[in-house]
Symmetry: C2
Subunit: 88 residues, 2 copies
């Protein structure tokens, strides 16, 4: 099962929400747990990129970061405003 | 089930691979299919950010982009080299 399959399965339930949403997930499989994690810093930069494209209210962003010996995952959930697209 | 649960379930099978991997997924639930998609352009910028943190070989990146009436998903899979971390 690929990640895209996951979204196909779960989108039915969330499609009932009127709001547009943007969800970003970063998963890093690590061979060594002794490396420092760069995901928290990466998260800030990813958000800066996203803000170029859509109007994001800081209060509409939720984060989740998990870490164990072999994997780190960073999840960003953003509820977009009613007129999310910027004029590019 | 959250996205993080998905990674918990699937990581056992992929943990047998020696290579480090970075997987990025962007899902955009849209209220209108008439908006132009900004994900292909966003993908380029996300890669530029990631390259600040890890050495990425262009041939080690695979993409998947899917689009339907209500959702777009962009998936990037990157196999990292043996010494992936840059000195920050």
């Amino acid at each position: 099962m690929s990640l895209l399959d996951y979204f196909r399965i779960t989108k039915t339930s969330s499609a009932s929400l009127a709001k547009e949403r943007l969800q970003i997930l970063v998963a890093h499989e690590r061979s060594s747990r002794h490396q420092p994690s760069y995901l928290p810093q990466l998260q800030k930069e990813l958000l800066e990129v996203i803000k170029k494209y859509v109007n994001v209210d800081q209060e509409s962003i939720s984060f989740n970061f998990e870490q164990d010996e072999t994997q780190e995952t960073l999840e960003l959930n953003i509820v977009l405003p009613d007129h999310p697209a910027k004029n590019l």
